[in-house]
Subunit: 161 residues, 2 copies
DNA sequence: GTGCGTGCAAATCTTTTGCAGGACA
DNA sequence: TGTCCTGCAAAAGATTTGCACGCAC
């Protein structure tokens, strides 16, 4: 299981480097997949990677415009669609809406989200096979995939309490 | 763990009775909670209970109008809000949108949804405490609640294959 | 040079709000 | 009878589509 500490507000240098690294990975994956490397896409990807919590299309537009003033909302939607399709971004489902996204690593992973500050952290290694088998046996469904999201308080908000 | 077989198309008598039973339970819970028993609410609740899959507000309006022609969309939204608040209905989060609802029993439960026909079945008894603990330990988050949904093929669609 | 990618504007959809009239207890 | 509910109409948002132009390859 991998887990990164939720970044401090304002973006500590370490977090910056991490965000940079992630966006490089995503941009690389994009071109690997045959998508061209444009200024608009870079702006969206960077904005997404810098966000320490789920970002809505509107957030990404605002943030992305700092890097590329002409960025349009439509491009944000289209880029998210591509990223999601490639498994590079994942939609976060929350009580109050399901339109925020977070970067996702390759492979199977889920997010744990802070109900106070919304910081979203990815985690791998959910071992729920037993549950899947049990459900399969009782319902007759052939379970193919699952969606799991945890909600709680991040270390920071936990302390503030 | 409880599990009901997904109803056959068209609504077999057994399924009808079950739907009836569920809607009675929901309507009863509503009045228990101090909400009055109106024709519009009955229509929405019945529509929700009859649906064998997640129903969107628009679905419920259409279905509900069979029983109460004057039913308005707004009432559907408001009723869903109440039901959700009381834990009597639950929003289903799916790849292609998160605006469908299904009746929910009291207590903790999740849904397994058919990717082909959308039939949604509730199941209880998700034992993922180990996962929660592990995530908590690795991320420092205090995990308070979780959200889990399974996707696959229901027995019916499995057979059709 | 070509075609993919972009941004604007407009069209759609979904959901929420404000109100006046109507139904339930 | 007094509230709680309801439905309509309109407002507010969110998302998608059509199109002509511009940039990446």
């Amino acid at each position: 299981m991998t887990a990164e500490a939720p970044a401090t507000r304002g973006g500590a240098p370490a977090a910056r480097g991490e965000a940079r690294q992630r966006s490089d990975r995503v941009l690389h994956a994009l071109s690997e997949a045959g998508f061209s490397d444009t200024r608009a896409r870079r702006a969206v990807v960077t904005a997404l990677c810098e966000a320490r919590r789920g970002a809505t299309p509107a957030d990404l537009l605002a943030r992305g415009r700092r890097r590329h003033a002409a960025l349009g909302q439509v491009t944000v939607y289209r880029t998210l669609e591509i990223l999601e399709g490639l498994g590079l971004a994942r939609k976060l489902h929350q009580e109050d809406g399901c339109s925020s996204y977070a970067v996702a690593s390759r492979g199977h992973a889920h997010h744990v989200i802070c109900r106070s500050c919304r910081a979203a952290v990815e985690f791998e290694g959910c071992r729920i096979d037993d549950v899947l088998k049990e459900v399969s046996a009782k319902t007759g469904y052939k379970v193919e995939s699952h969606f799991l999201e945890l909600l709680g308080l991040c270390p920071h908000c936990r302390g503030k309490k």
